[in-house]
């Protein structure tokens, strides 16, 4: 889907709220201004949560995103359990990891095959790509379906899972169900390995910004739900210290808030950050596939995020197989969680990067205050910085090609637009009349 057609669409629909737009102002050889208006922060949901029971947060926040509801549920349950001083372990913890594996597979596969691959194969969209490469698209749909199956079994429903609750789940899968899922996942892992090999062959522009990567890091696991917040510039904090180090700034050109590190400004979250800070935590099969695909232990090229996503899909399949293979149904599907008059913090790795939740609840369990910082608002400043440097080095390109490459540079981040603003318009202003 190209921005050119989107522009036409937007012009005809001037009354739409929350229009997304990318504006690049070029004067001579210099990019003077980049303004990206893509993301509305979830202020409506934060307001909706006030006065609701702490147990409702997972289901309410899951509605923020149609692509990554599990991430919202996971950050919410961890924040509420943090407030209550409860730790969920054992098979329940493993089931949460499995559920997250399903969401990563679904979300990353959608982006890799249907949204990002057409850029590299020279197609305007996945539909045109499907006409020439039906087997590629079918592989993507089959892989994505495996992610759906995990979310359906553990989450209770394919879209907007309903089985998650504070303390665990309403129902834990039976041993037989998990064994059947595990059987099917063996084929899925092969598809994921083929996916890494498929995207490794693409050509990538030479572009390696010096990002500050921020991700969770766990003592032994590739991060989903737990860990310290670390960066490649020395950040190493507990999730509870998030607000001491990060701040959301109002941006004049949009309703959005840009999240920055108080000490250093822009930072980058998501697959590149996770991978570069946690390569040693990937399973052997994922590490080997990454090396064979030409990746080192750190990847700074945002265009190669498609390869990193493919490696993460492979890891998620491998991890899901491990969990289904050793599953013993828990005695109870949840642990009891009693509210306390306090503040709870949760931060988990959504497909697009860290998703931070903070709640103040009272002793009766009512939510007094909610704060949610999604990954896309954290990446917005890095996307603008990428565009500034990327465009400046390519000003000699014809307008349509430059526009297309700008779109690609935005797409590298798989930004969460559909959940918030609905229309993207791109404009490159060269000051010509």
């Amino acid at each position: 889907m190209s921005v050119k057609t989107r522009t036409i669409r937007v012009d005809a629909l001037a009354r739409v709220e929350g229009e997304g737009a990318l504006y690049v102002k070029v004067r001579g050889e210099k990019v003077e201004e980049v303004r990206l208006k893509i993301y509305e922060p979830p202020r409506f949901f934060e307001a909706l949560l006030r006065g609701r029971a702490f147990t409702e947060a997972p289901d309410i926040t899951a509605r923020i995103c149609g692509i990554c509801p599990v991430a919202y549920q996971m950050s919410a349950v961890h924040a509420m359990e943090d407030a209550a001083g409860v730790t969920v372990g054992g098979e329940l913890r493993a089931l949460r990891r499995l559920l997250y594996c399903g969401e990563w597979i679904e979300s990353h596969t959608l982006h890799v095959y249907l949204l990002h691959a057409p850029d590299f194969l020279g197609y305007e969209d996945a539909i045109r790509m499907a006409k020439d490469h039906p087997e590629v698209v079918k592989r993507g749909l089959e892989l994505k379906k495996a992610g759906n199956e995990i979310v359906t079994l553990v989450g209770g429903r394919e879209v907007h899972p309903v089985n998650v609750r504070v303390g665990g789940f309403y129902r834990a899968p039976a041993r037989r169900e998990m064994a059947e899922l595990g059987e099917r996942l063996k084929r899925t892992r092969d598809l994921a390995l083929e996916t890494v090999r498929f995207v490794a062959r693409f050509d990538f522009p030479d572009f390696e910004p010096d990002y500050e990567f921020v991700a969770l890091r766990h003592p032994s696991e590739y991060p989903f739900n737990e860990g310290r917040l670390v960066s490649n510039r020395g950040l190493d904090i507990d999730v509870r210290e998030y607000d001491d180090h990060f701040v959301e700034e109002h941006v004049p050109h949009s309703n959005a808030l840009h999240s920055v590190l108080k000490a250093r400004g822009a930072y980058c979250v998501g697959p590149l950050a996770r991978y570069s800070l946690n390569f040693d935590r990937l399973s052997p099969i994922a590490q080997e596939a990454a090396r064979d695909a030409g990746l080192g232990p750190v990847c700074r090229n945002p265009f190669q995020s498609i390869v990193v996503r493919a490696v993460e899909i492979l890891y998620a399949c491998d991890e899901a197989l491990r969990i289904t293979g050793s599953y013993e149904p828990p005695e109870r599907p949840f642990v009891p969680v009693a509210p306390r008059d306090t503040v709870g913090f949760g931060c988990t790795e959504a497909p697009r990067g860290i998703l931070y939740h903070r709640y103040r609840i009272d002793a009766a369990g009512s939510i007094i205050y909610a704060k949610i910082v999604p990954p896309t608002s954290q990446n917005q400043k890095s996307i603008e910085d990428d565009l500034r440097h990327f465009v400046e080095a390519r000003l000699d390109l014809p307008q349509d090609q430059l526009t297309w490459q700008c779109e690609q540079a935005v797409r590298n981040y798989d930004p969460c637009i559909s959940c918030a603003t609905h229309f993207l318009k791109l404009e490159i202003d060269r000051g010509e009349t």
Partner: protein, 151 residues
């Protein structure tokens, strides 16, 4: 005869809920054996849901600039779904994309009818606009009529 009803949209975004609400009403009214599903967010999974169906009825909110509450009926098996049915963004995959992808893969069911209900407000947290509710009821009736004609 396999018949599927798919309501698409976002129940937290004003009139974008139209397709979802229509599906919920239809679930209680369709003959036994007709599958009714709701889909929020992206619709790539619809390509899979279409497999093996003889007839599919999709209901979604649309923004084409027409009068709010207007209803448009398209025979998607015969011609492409216009872009106003797509959730335009760099990672959205709407009903237009799902139908066209199924067509490109040669898996589009023989009959795919798309009903679009023109929305007015798509703001987060907004309820259904006053013009939209009767349109939802009318689409429900029309889809029921079409399903009955198949039986």
């Amino acid at each position: 005869m396999n018949v599927l009803v798919l309501g698409a949209g976002n129940s937290f975004r004003g009139d974008d809920a139209a397709g979802i609400l229509a599906a919920r009403k239809l679930r209680a009214l369709v003959p036994r054996g007709v599958a009714v599903i709701e889909r929020e967010g992206e619709l790539a999974g619809a390509v899979e849901a279409f497999l093996g169906q003889d007839a599919v009825f999709v209901i979604d909110a649309v923004q084409s600039g027409a009068q709010p509450g207007s209803i448009v009926r398209l025979e998607a098996h015969a011609r492409p779904v216009p872009v106003c049915f797509s959730r335009s963004s760099t990672h959205a995959f709407g009903i237009a994309e799902a139908v066209e992808l199924a067509r490109a893969l040669g898996t589009l069911p023989p009959q795919v009818v798309v009903y679009g209900i023109e929305g007015k407000s798509f703001a987060a947290g907004a309820g259904l606009s006053i013009e939209i509710a009767p349109a939802v009821d009318e689409v429900v009736e029309r889809v029921l009529g079409e399903i009955a004609a198949h039986a």
